[in-house]
Symmetry: C2
């Protein structure tokens, strides 16, 4: 048996290992893999390898051609919205680049989502939003960064959900990854920016009061802060 992560079946394990290897830059774009070779390397049957390759292919990470093998595609063609690809890349070496891309995406999407949330949010969602904002306030000082993170993630997830747009809603996981990544890779000693905390509270207010333009504008400020912080940390 192997000593590596083999929790949920061979398929998952091989997929994760290979995906990570590819996104990490081993197997650079253009290099070819052969199924038989992979089968030997992972000590599994060709069946498993083929299924893995098919999934990798569906993420546009590789392309499989007869008589040629499985060739790694150029980075520009990855399906970067696949949560697994995101996770692999965040775990790999170009984590900073990835974080920046994702933060820029957030800064584009979240303000619009907040504006929509102001008109679409259910009372329940408004309540939830306020609750999470208050939770952020309560945990914003004294080094309770982990607890703060939980509320932060929940807050943004509710906003995206409440927007009523499924494309936005599905970005909840992405945002969660970004926030978690930011918290975990920063100096863990400093408390979050009080201004940002206040902004979250005010966004919750704006949504509750159905003030779309204010919700959007405030969220834009939050996003601007996140971008700024990124520039400070990784110029």
């Amino acid at each position: 048996m192997h000593m590596t992560t083999q929790g949920q079946g061979l398929h998952t394990h091989v997929l994760d290992t290979l995906g990570l290897a590819i996104t990490a830059g081993e197997c650079p774009p253009g290099s070819v893999l052969r199924t038989d070779e992979l089968a030997q390397r992972f000590e599994v049957s060709r069946t498993v390898i083929r299924e893995v390759v098919r999934v990798l292919e569906s993420m546009h990470l590789v392309e499989s051609r007869r008589r040629v093998g499985v060739t790694v595609r150029p980075t520009a063609q990855w399906n970067v919205y696949d949560p697994r690809v995101i996770r692999w890349r965040l775990a790999g070496s170009d984590r900073p680049r990835q974080l920046r891309s994702l933060t820029v995406l957030r800064s584009a999407v979240e303000p619009v989502a907040a504006g929509l949330a102001a008109t679409h949010a259910t009372p329940e969602q408004c309540r939830e939003l306020t609750e999470q904002a208050l939770g952020m306030v309560a945990t914003s000082r004294g080094g309770q960064l982990e607890a703060y993170l939980v509320h932060d993630i929940a807050f943004h997830r509710v906003v995206l959900d409440a927007s009523g747009n499924e494309m936005f809603a599905r970005l909840g996981d992405v945002v969660a990854e970004v926030l978690a990544g930011r918290t975990h890779h920063r100096v863990m000693f400093e408390d979050p920016d009080p201004a940002a905390v206040t902004l979250h509270v005010r966004v919750a207010e704006a949504v509750r009061e159905r003030d779309a333009v204010r919700a959007e504008e405030l969220t834009r400020e939050i996003a601007a802060g996140a971008l700024l912080e990124l520039d400070v940390l990784a110029p």
Copy 2:
């Protein structure tokens, strides 16, 4: 043999058929499929079916569990950023909903992308942008909708590429699908809105002149137009 699309192999064909069926609402969420059954239905081996199921699983369209079968997941869990899922849904019954979601996403992303493009675009990209805008002008009248569409898609793709953000760049396919869908599923007789065409030309100008805020603002107008048009067509 079958008379359906079988161009690039059994796998592709079965995947497309099944994916379409699921996203179209046959096989509603919660319903279960068995691999053997599917193998019979499509007259292919279990091998092929298993690979298809694995890909479908990677899109979060289905979940495969032992002793239970392949169960269709609730819509909220689809990986809606997968180009194939988008295409299937655009071809299916909830095309209006899908088109709206995507257009809202565009309206959030493209203005920001245009702003970034103004500062990041290479001279080559500026040239390309201008060229496509002019192409749009040239084909904007006289029922040359197909030719217009080509330039329209190319234009938006260049903007997203030139933003320098990979997440934005990868939305090129999505935007292409939306624009194509809009053109092909609409009354084919009316020429595109002249105001929109002009706006595209002005965006190209703004980018060329490195005027980020203007590029963003103009693109916001284009997006607003697209949203408006959507409301007119599907209230």
